[in-house]
Structure formats: C-alpha cells, structure tokens
Assembly symmetry: C2
Homo-oligomer: 489 residues x 2
Amino acid sequence: MFSEAESDPILPKPRFKAQEARLRTALLKAQYELLRQADRSLLIVVAGIDGAGKGATINLLNEWMDPRHIRTLAYGDPTPDEAQRPPLWRYWNELPPKGRIGIVFGSWYVPLLMAAGRKHPKVARVEALADEVRRFEAQLAANGVQIVKLWYHLSREAQAERVERLSANPATAWQVAPVDRKVSRRFGRARAAAQMVLTQTGAAHAPWEVIPSADDPMRTACTAEAVLRALRRRAMPRVPHRYAPQVPRRRTIPDRLGKLDYDAQVDKDDYEAELEQLQARLALAARASAFGKRSLVLVFEGQDAAGKGGAIRRVTHALDARQFDITPISAPAQHELARPYLWRFWRRVPAHGRIAIFDRSWYGRVLVERVEKLVTPAEWRRAYGEINDFESQLAASGAIVLKFWLAVTADVQLERFHEREASPFKNFKITPDDWRNRRKWRAYAEAANEMLARTDTAAAPWHVIPANDKRHARLQVLRHIVAAMEKPD
Amino acid sequence: MFSEAESDPILPKPRFKAQEARLRTALLKAQYELLRQADRSLLIVVAGIDGAGKGATINLLNEWMDPRHIRTLAYGDPTPDEAQRPPLWRYWNELPPKGRIGIVFGSWYVPLLMAAGRKHPKVARVEALADEVRRFEAQLAANGVQIVKLWYHLSREAQAERVERLSANPATAWQVAPVDRKVSRRFGRARAAAQMVLTQTGAAHAPWEVIPSADDPMRTACTAEAVLRALRRRAMPRVPHRYAPQVPRRRTIPDRLGKLDYDAQVDKDDYEAELEQLQARLALAARASAFGKRSLVLVFEGQDAAGKGGAIRRVTHALDARQFDITPISAPAQHELARPYLWRFWRRVPAHGRIAIFDRSWYGRVLVERVEKLVTPAEWRRAYGEINDFESQLAASGAIVLKFWLAVTADVQLERFHEREASPFKNFKITPDDWRNRRKWRAYAEAANEMLARTDTAAAPWHVIPANDKRHARLQVLRHIVAAMEKPD
C-alpha cells in the first residue's frame, strides 16, 4: 500500500514543468464542468503522515483551480458548541452545495487514526469508529456528495530529513509542530495505524489515494492527478448495500394506525388539572441542572388536522422562550436541495440544555416524498436506515429523542377540515393540498405504518397517539415528554 | 407614558370574545399580505416589567397567526460563541427574510435596561448603549426590517398580586422566577429605567407600544392591535438622517489612487528573504496566546487583476488551515437579498483566535453596486456610515480590522488581462465583466477614492498599496498585517 510512496519517488523539475500547464488546464476545465452540471459536490479529504507537507495542498488547489468555488473546511479540537453535538455535526453543517468543492482538513478520520495509533489499539473501539466513518461516507455518496481521500506519505528517512531541514532554519521552524518531531520518532506506529485505517475505509465510492510526498513536484503532480480523476468520474458510483445502516426487516408491516383506541378521551376538568401538573413538572425538568448535559428533540408528525400545532403549544407553554426552537418543515428550498436531504435537519440539532421542536420533520422523506413520488423507491427505502443512523447519533450525544404520531380517523379529519373552512381565522390552515392528501389516505397510512415499523428504535421511540380527542392527545404527549425528562440517565 | 397601563384596565370577557374573531382574521390577512408583498420583514420586540406575562405573547401570536412564517428569536446570557463577537452579532445572524416575522425575546434592550435600572445609573453608559440601539434599529429600518416594540406594563399592586397568586399555587409557582419576586420589591426603579429607555429609543421607524398587562384579555387584545397596526403600515417609514452614523464630511475627495508611487518594486532575492521572515513572524503572532483574545479581519479590494488572490495566498501560507476562512464575495444570492446587505458579512464574523479573509467584501455596496447603479445614491451614500459602524463594532469586540486596496495602473491591468487570456489555466480569470469594468475605469476610481476618504478610520484603516509590482504589494500586505498582529493591545 505504501511501498511506492516510501520509495520517495522524484519528478524532475523539467518533467514537472512540462506537465504543469496540462494539469492546471484540465483541473480548471473539470472544475467548471462540475459547476455546470451541479449534479454533485466533491469533498477532498486531506490526511497523511505528519510532516508530509499536506498543508501546501490548500494553496495548491486554490491556486490551480478557481478559488471562488472551493471552500477549505478545516477542523481542530471541537469547540464548546461542537462538543455538545454528535461528532459528525460540524462536518454535516458545512457540506458544500452541488457544483462546489470542499477541502477537508482535520476530518472525521482524526479520532479513528488516533485510536488506531495507540500503543495497544483497542480493536473494538477502532472497529466502531471505522464503522461510523463508513456509514457517514456511504450516506454522503448516496446523496450526491462525492468523496476522494488523499493520504500524504513518505519514507521514515525522508520524513526525518524534512523535519530536520525545516527545524534548522529559523524562518521555517514554525512549520514543524512539536507533534511532527514526536511523530518522526514513532513513524512505525503511525504507519501501522494508517495501514489499518486505509484498509478498513477504502471503497469504490470513497477511495483513498496515496500521494508520495517526499518530493514537492511529485506531491503536487500526484495531488492534481488524484483530484482530476475524481472530477472526471462521469457518475457517482453506486454505494454497495452492505454499507447502508441496517433497518429492521419484517415480512409484514403491522397496521399500528388501524389498531388504536380512537375513543380514548379525557373530560375537561381532569384535563385542566393534569395539564397544569404536567406543565409544572416539565418546567422543573427543563430547568434542572441534569438537563444541562442533555438536550431534547421532539418530532411531531400525523395526518393533517391531527392537532400538532395545539399539542406543541401545550408543551412550549411550560418552557422559557430562550430554551426552545420550533422548526416548521415544508418543502426544501433551493439551497437545501443542493445538499443531502438530512442537511437542513442536522443544522438544527440543539445544544445541551436546549429543546428543538419539529413540526413535521425528516420523516417527510418516507411520507409525502414517497407518496407523491418526489423520490425514487430506492431513495425512500434507504432513508429508513439513514434516519435511524441520524437519530442514534443524536441519542449518543446526549439528546432525548421523542417522536409523536398524532392519529385521527378519516371522519374526524373531515369534520375538522369543515370546521376550519368555516372559521375566518382558521381557513388558512386548510388548502387544496390537504384535500388532495386526504384522497390518498390509504397510501399515507401505509407509508406511516411502514415508517413506524422501520424507525421505532430504542434510541428514538415513536409514540403513536390517538388524537380524535385533542385533550387526550395533548396529555399523552406531555406524559411521554415528562417521563423521559424525569428518567435518570 | 405608563399612566394608562398602570390604571390596569380590564376588557370584560364578552367584549373580548366579540373582538377576537375580528382580530384574528385581520392579523392573518395582514400576515399573508406581508408574505405576499415580501417587501420587508417584521421584528416584534417583546420587553416589559417582569411578571407582566409577556411570555404568553409567543403562544398567542403563534396561535393567532400562521406559525410557519414566524420565528421566535429568544436570547439569554451570551453563549461562549456569542461572547467572542460584537453584542449585536447574534441578532444580525438570525434576521428573518422579507415576508417573515420574528418575535424577539431577550433583545438588544437587555443591557440598556440593566444599565438604566441600576441604583445609580451611569448617564454616559446609558447614553452610549441607547445610541448603539438607535443606530442598530435605524440601520435595520433603512434596510427593509420593520420594527415594533411592545412594552408590557402594569401597576405595582397588580404586579405584586400576580406574582403572589402564581407563587401560591404549586402548579404555577415555576412561572415566577426569583427575579420576578425581587423586581416586585423594586418596582419603582424598574419603572424609572423603562421610562428613560422608552423615551430615548422611541422613533417613528421603531415605535414603542405600551401594553396594559394586568388583565389577560386586555393584554391579548392590545398585543394583537399593536401588531396589526405595524403590519398595516403601507410603507417603511423614512429614517431621519440624524439617526444615521456619522461619516467624515469632506468638501473634496483626494485622489489617493492617482498619487501612489506605482514604480515601487522589490527584486527577487530581497523579496524571498523578507517574505520568509514575514511569514515566520505572522505564524508566530497567529499562534501567540495573546491572539486568543483577538481575531483578525482582512479585506482585500482593488481593480481586477491587481493580484488579490496571490497576496491572499502569501498570507495563508503562514497560517494553519484550521485558523482561517477565505470568503470570496460575488453577487448576493436570493436568500441574501432578502435581508439587509450587511447580513451575509455579519454571519462570517470570526471567533477569537480566528482569521476571516474577504476576497472582495461589503465595500461592493459603494463600488460595483454604486457604479453599476444596482442601488440608489441614497443607499450607497448611507452605506459609508453603516460600514463604519459595522467595523467599529468588530474592533470594539477585539477584532483587528485591516483593509487593503491593491492598486494597479490601467496599462498594467491591460497587460495582465492579455496575459490571462493567453494562458490556458488563467483565462478563467478574465470575463466580459472584467472588460466592461475596465471601460468604466474612471467611475470605479472615483468610487474607490470616495470610499477611501469616507471609510478610512482608526478602528479599521485602509492600506492603499501600489501593486504594479506584485512582490512589492505582497510584502506590503504582510508588513501591515505583521505590524498590527505584533502590536500589544
């Protein structure tokens, strides 16, 4: 894997000069083709042996291509803001739109390489981190983000020499971080770690390219060639099925919506007494110091007119306005369509101590987008796993994730539609879309039942609540939230 | 000012019921009209005496209007991220687009009200904070953000009674923060502070509305009426000139570009030696612990082909990729046009220890947008003050702001254009726009000279650098940056 790079090949300057014009022209042409097609974005992940000169890559690519369409995405230790979210949050947040290029420094490989580079690597930990990386890259590749990964490499001797040369000159000594000098002494361990990581994470849809780095012209030319190869790929490669996160397999989908007790109801006095108590408990739990290390993600789905808005207001009534955000979800905007569909939701992942409420959500992918055929069957089928993966990352980072399906029967929906139409201040809530969706009642119910079967996980459970009686539904929602908030970690 | 509210007026329930349908219908209609016209956004600032029940406003407005087009923007103590930027950064960041409504809790009035509410208020401090608020609101109002400010008020007795009632009931005691109980004991001081603040910050373009709050129906109806009045305003009011930040007045604009020494040059050996030294010093300064409390904002402007990109790369060569962001500026996108023009730049204000590099910048407003008549003369003239205000806020928050104009002569530009056209990997840098701009050389020079005269401030100085010789220009840029970075605070 590294034998070529460790032979420290050299590209003589005249030969480099002869190639330079061709490479620059070809890179630019390919970059503009990417911009014109805008059918995908390209992430160039930069990693490698310390001291291999990988930092020069940014300047190189920005000088050789049109820098207006390239973003350098460089990450160090997590900021306080980042530490409160899943580790991949910061990468999701800054995904470039289709047509553009991102150069990633300090990528999602840093924790994996560190774990693999320990004196006695913990195999299970390394495997878990590698698996997370594989799932992430598979999801990006399946959603229009092409990935190419560059590993800058050179021999132990060349590394030592390079570090020595830079350190000796006071004007360049700053380029050598203390860590470089140290790594030079333990080249072998870093090399073994790289071998493990590159083997475990190479894939046709996210290939590693080893760049010989001892010689500047050779490193430059190989970088350019690798990026060029990536840009020239006609189409995004298919992502093998085994990379996708697993989804519960079921022969038959149970009809959970059909089996609810829609007669459940609560009388007004009981409702008001319990509502007040639940709100008081929620208020306390949300202000408790323990919540400072958690966050709360609430998802509200359900048929039109099921009462999502009213239920949400009963929740927020107990909360300080500074603590929560309500995000109503409708069709994605242009700049959202230019990224993987989960991007806009990742950007709204709450910090610790905060509450994010979604009025409709990422489940649109397997509901409206499925039923209205806005996506292919392959896309919405894949989404179950992508969503489970997203939610399990949320849960792992300390979020309490609760999902509510408010369920009404068709006759009650009709009643509410008519009520809304008759009310001068509620008729905005009823549109031709609502009537159209209603005509597809069965298709939506089928999609909802399948969604419930495939995404009801321990990390992020679904609560399916009969909502023909609004009071009953609101209390149920609050009861689940309060129970989850009051449960010790 | 408060006499009506302190009489604690009551709206009997039957009369409220009679008004409710009319108010809700009118509010919705007005909200949709705002959405349809999309000629402005509306910020509703919510403030008032503690315990006046202003928190209920969010639920009210979200219930009475279409919540999909309303965002609640609630702020508490600054987060670590916020504390590293100017105080107004967080408000700028979340401005709603035209057509939408934002409800602001914990607004820019909090520091002002606290300063005014001290036992012995410092007059100068209060006046300075009020002035900052006035300039902010004037700038928003002049740039398509309508503002209405609601002050929730009630009598001392009603406040005490309300706090008492809520505290007595264990189910509602959580609604009364400890601060409410305290404020109830020092009603007089809070009232005097409010009087001072409302007087100093009321304006036709950002009016205060006092909402009597002792009685729930009255508070609800008055809130609805106030929002309705704001929504029904046909046009944004003119912002009086005296609110605009001051700009240096000059009878004549000096021809700074015409008076440069364009023959300045540096020979190759001297260049390389000094470049290396400057980069080493910059690298050290950027890694110094003192920089952890500062940030660096670099603006690059200049004629086409003046060498901005090359100069930027000589700077970034000395820096760790994780430490800087380069933002190339071109025409604003749709969602950027829906906000005040400085919005997209505010969003890229760096945290402490970080470096933001702008390849072209907010000065486009007084350069290309002026020359190409994309904005009115009133708009670009106003921009000088808005920009100075923006930059002085950056400087006050710890940013080192340096602005570079790289100046070439027309003949050298022509030479470089031809060079670019002839080069297979540089011809992307030359477009019909460049030739068109070149034909307007004088108009651009005039705009640049006026910009230099009006925005060269101590907080954010302009460095005008002859760039016919690229080596000379690059060294000059680095010298200025290094000098500023090495200067003790």
